[in-house]
Subunit: 344 residues, 2 copies
């Protein structure tokens, strides 16, 4: 189906565009009253992820309510470890919890992987089918997954952590096993992403949420090669890599075979361009807390960010939008971008 | 009293030294069985902080057990908000909790500040006196406090947080009040540090633990000027500033009137030197998780770090040592440094 709004794809392809496209990480979520209404009728977040009709509905809500330039499928990066046989729960106000974590070679050996694991995620592909149908080509649909290091860190740590010291310890003490596990996660993620592409996503984003806690050397050893492999495997749609906090390997990220790099708010656009060169489109990077400010200040900050990036830019925040962000602030952000015009 | 080991101070003063000095952030703590024995006999961490004889004892333990080149007084950065009238608790395995947080202008107005607040911390000065006496000049004694932004963030947020979005929201929505509060924290911290110097500390370290979550612009507005003021006020002993994650303002940090900058493990030494110039001594920056590795790998990583820094370097980790670090790993780290010799 032809897209009615293909601004995001034209930007990613390096075409000259009239203004930058805009969407928000976590736009399908608690910032929207429509989302909260659906969520409150369910037992939890995981039920929403696993119910295709509802996942599709909340995926489309921000397109209706905010008029953003893309939809991103409502899901969770942790469906990958689950598909591999590692069950998790989401504890209200605390986050993910894996009752069983990876500790030994045997644990890694026992994991399901690749296409076989990806087959366990039919509910995601079904949600994509419903979403594509309901969206009817209004905007592109983004599919996503976690980067192997980030998924690995949850599988070892069992929950969120300030330091992820258990996961990092494994890198130092069991490097060969770490590579085995990272390989399995990568193979599974690639199979999963390929299925997503088959089911119509127009773009893929890879989230390396815990990139920032590795040392440069560790990132080059245990993170980058697996992202590289994923980028190489996804050939039919453009890929965005968002390695949060990974400023220290920005030059390396710039050499990945992907179209777009996500940036958090600590990296200024000029520095990013200088490190990465002209080949990549950038996505980001307003501080999510900026949206707590007044209408006027959001407008000012957003406009100044667009100017600082120049072209080859997809407007987004530098992180997922925080759940208590005022809807008015989000709308001001989106509308500021939509009213912007690149001077020709 | 003359110091028997003044390697740290000679290094900080820019003198040519035979090897870099070494100590570890959080060296007085759970890594030591002696510490765990004392701690288990008490109701909690705060009781230990508030009992001068015991605080002195655990301060000296790592000098005895690890033979490090400095002692750092056992205390907590959150004694400052408490001295200002904001009580906190330490919840086992969760961290600090402030039952009442700062929300309004009135809350800020009601705070005690400056010398009056610093007078509430007599137990710290008493602990310093005991420590100095017991140390008997074996090594220098380091005093510390949190940077104003980090203290501010706890006073607003009430606990640790992944995003500190409440504290950051206040910066965006109530900038004038934020400056008022930062001023009060700064005045109190200066009065506190001056008392510490009176009671014999040989060096001051300022910890900006949550530096990394601000944008460069916010850091320059709400964090740096207050650290600058503190550095200017402390004239009798050298000051170390450790702004964790603040790579994006490294050049600005390099212009502070302090002797030493702490670095975390994401910043490589060459880059730091290039950004900061020759004027500062660096402190850091091994990944704490490296100490989980084998004896040989710790030795290798530590030696290679020392070579990468060259001179003007105090060896430390890039963060506080993690409580479950094997004592053997810590000893290998310290001994590697002590056996090192700069080639002349």
């Amino acid at each position: 189906m032809e897209l009615k709004n293909d601004l995001l794809l034209r930007t990613v392809n390096g075409e000259k565009v009239e203004r930058p496209p805009v969407w928000l990480m976590r736009q399908a979520g608690r910032i929207l009253p429509q989302y909260r209404a659906i969520r409150s009728s369910l037992s939890g977040f995981k039920e929403l992820v696993a119910t295709p009709d509802l996942a599709a509905e909340v995926t489309i809500q921000p397109v209706d309510e905010l008029d953003v330039d893309a939809a991103i499928i409502f899901s969770d990066i942790l469906v990958i470890p689950e598909s591999m046989g590692l069950h998790y729960e989401l504890i209200e106000k605390k986050g993910p919890l894996f009752p069983k974590t990876i500790e030994t070679a045997k644990d890694i050996e026992n994991l399901i992987e690749g296409a076989e694991a990806a087959e366990n995620l039919d509910y995601v592909y079904h949600a994509l089918d419903v979403t594509k149908k309901e969206l009817a080509g209004r905007v592109p649909l983004i599919g996503f997954c976690g980067a192997p290091w980030t998924i690995f860190s949850y599988m070892l740590e069992g929950s969120g952590s300030k330091t992820f010291s258990k996961a990092k310890k494994f890198l130092y003490t069991e490097p060969d096993l770490a590579h085995q596990l990272l390989d399995k996660i990568t193979n599974t993620s690639i199979a999963y992403l390929k299925k997503k592409v088959e089911h119509g996503v127009n773009l893929i984003q890879i989230f390396d949420s815990w990139a920032g806690i590795l040392s440069p050397e560790q990132y080059r050893t245990f993170a980058l090669p697996y992202i590289q492999k994923m980028c190489e495997a996804i050939t039919d749609v453009p890929v965005t890599v968002f390695a949060k906090g990974a400023w220290f390997v920005l030059e390396d990220l710039g050499k990945l075979p992907c179209a777009t790099l996500g940036l958090d708010w600590s990296t200024n656009p000029q520095l990013a361009r200088q490190k990465v060169g002209e080949s990549k489109v950038f996505q980001g990077n307003l501080d999510p807390c900026q949206l707590y400010a007044s209408h006027k200040e959001i407008e000012l900050a957003c406009t100044s960010m667009i100017k600082a990036f120049g072209d080859k830019h997809i407007v987004n925040l530098g992180h997922g939008v925080y759940p208590d962000t005022p809807l008015d602030g989000v709308k001001t952000f989106v509308n500021t971008v939509k009213n912007y015009q690149y001077s020709s």
